[in-house]
Amino acid sequence: MNQKADISYFDKLEPDSPPVTIVWHARGNQGAVAATEILIILFALLIEMGFEFDGTSAPIFGAAKEGEPIRIYVRLSHDKIEVFYTPTSLDVIVIVDPTISRNVTLQGAHKDTVFLINTNKKPEEIARELKLGSKRIITIDATRIAKEELKSKRSHPNTTILGAFARIFPFLPLELIKKSIETKLEEKGHKVLDANLKAFERGFAEAEEFDGRTSDIPLEEVVPAKKLAWYDILPGASIPATGNFVVNKTGSWRTERPILDLEKCISCMNCIQACNDYSPDAPTILTQYGKDGLLKVTGIGYDHCKGCAACVTVCPNQAIHMVPETEERQ
């Protein structure tokens, strides 16, 4: 638990105090790992300049697959950091992708935790939606700003979010953060670097803040996942082969969703064959027998669709097209 006195944010890092713990929740390919590396580069620069700081950054991947949520834990401190375990109590929670389950992103939050959320909603709105209750919230529409500035297919929101992040630690010089971004991104060329620096500046300027500490927003506690006792685990960690992985709704991974035009669909089933995540029990392509006894495609099953668009490519009639996934995914 952070024992610092409660001022606006963090105006310095105290000596003889536990490190400030930060987590970034993101999906693969949103640039979160690069963002945390930039923070460490920044601290390395500060140490070189003679300041007394230390910083560590530890990404945690699950099965490390594209689209799956990842977490990166950052510790920042005045003193040398000698602990490496995953923090269980977090002072700053950065949510790069607000579609990641609340059960995951709110873990470890304490009553003084600061939230930084990448969303197009207002801070109070998102706080109500996530039932955050009595926290300081900063929001930034990094996805939009990044698209506007970077203008590429993979416009990573990371540098924009870093801009908003800089507000939480006002003692870190903006010029130095920019220099760290430059160090990390210089190999990508001037155009990319300049676009990212602009995105960073906009992130800093356009972030919105909300002090929810005295508001009436409810706080819903995170329910810890129920764990099996050691004697309930079958020998060899065996699992009855019931295909229970289906409870993992991988539909939450996607950033785009397929839309099926039934007028154009000829029910050739190419899409079913090409879909790596199809299974008859929880189908990504819905089918039904027609009155003529033939099987017809009737729609998309969004629970498990990861949005890879393989179905779009193999459809001989172009009956499917992709649209961006919204924050309100069904």
Binding site: G67, A241, G243, N244, F245, A282, G307, A310, T313
Partner: protein, 320 residues
């Protein structure tokens, strides 16, 4: 495909595989092609497939499956087959186990790199079973390192920009290495594509038939969007292009008597001048080993004279 919705599906979804992965669509049709899919007992070597399919306490499998040590898939298959035979001879098989098939699933690393000795030893021993290699040309699970099937010049993290790569036999000719063992009953090269969408299933069916009598080997090129750096939707198009150009040759080999007979499944345009209706010149195509090539296998009834006209579009990036 008409009964697709009601078939028993041995490998379900919800898996933690990358968007656009091709592994599930490589493994599931093979298991389903068995005469009795519920009686397939599978072993899987460490790799992308394991890590996506089984994270305690969740599993995507509905048939018996075990993970085995990375480089020993061949030994694992021998062990299962030996146990099945021993218990069968002693009359102690559990109920429902009357046509059990052994299936080994391994990536290209666990088959043709660290596991090459295991594979060839298993082929030599001649035990019945089907070995499925899903080949994505590298150790993808650990972040795309070079493996025995990574082509010369390919960019991997241990051979950055093709640094220090060499031409290798295992890429296109892994089946030739396997067929050096006379006990092998069936071997086939296949991939996932829109032009030959049932190639994998038909070959799996034939392989299971042959696997009753000895080792059968399926080599499926299964592209990896992360490792190969292509947009996630293009996997089947890569298969199409590979087949058309001959980069992914489609063929199968059946043991008849003491001989291995090679069957060509598709003749790429650029090889047509070397085809005299009977033989293909050596060194042009793996099938060109001087033996008679017979076209007219189950997988395609004739060599297509004209490729179907499919517009390959991806509206994701707006480019055609």
């Amino acid at each position: 495909m008409s009964d697709h919705a009601e078939k028993f599906c041995p490998l379900g979804n919800g898996q933690a595989a990358c968007a656009g992965c091709t592994i599930n669509q490589t493994i599931e049709p093979v298991v389903s092609a068995a005469p009795q899919p519920k009686q397939v007992i599978a072993v899987g070597a460490s790799g992308c497939s394991i890590v996506a399919q089984y994270i305690y306490p969740l599993t995507a499998w509905k048939i018996n499956f075990t993970h085995v040590i990375f480089e020993t898939t061949g030994g694992a298959m021998t062990g299962m087959e030996a146990a099945y035979k021993a218990l069968k001879n002693k009359g102690r098989l559990p109920p429902g186990a009357d046509d059990v098939r052994v299936l080994g699933i391994a990536g290209d690393g666990a088959t043709a790199d660290i596991g090459l000795g295991s594979l060839l030893g298993w082929c030599e021993r001649g035990d019945p079973g089907l070995y499925l290699c899903y080949d994505n040309n590298g150790y993808q699970n650990t972040g795309t390192q070079s493996s025995g099937t990574s082509p010369k010049g390919s960019h991997t993290t241990t051979t950055p920009h093709g640094y220090q790569t060499s031409p290798k036999a295992q890429g296109k000719d892994l089946i030739k290495l396997v067929l050096c063992q006379p006990a092998v009953t069936y071997a086939a090269m296949t991939t996932l594509s829109t032009l030959w969408p049932h190639d994998l299933e038909y070959k799996a069916e034939a392989a299971f038939e042959a696997a009753k009598h000895g080792p059968a080997f399926l080599h499926c090129i299964s592209p990896c969007p992360r490792g190969w750096g292509y947009p996630a939707d293009q996997a089947r198009i890569i298969g199409d292009i590979g087949i058309e150009t001959g980069v992914i040759p489609l063929y199968h080999v059946i043991k008849v008597g003491d001989e291995h007979i090679w069957y060509l499944d598709f003749l790429p345009e650029r090889y047509k001048e070397y085809w005299n209706g009977g033989e293909i010149q050596k060194d042009i195509h793996p099938i060109g080993n001087g033996s008679e090539a017979n076209c007219g296998s189950k997988t395609c009834s004739q060599i297509p004279q004209k490729l179907p006209d499919i517009k390959r579009t991806s509206t994701v990036n707006g480019k055609t």
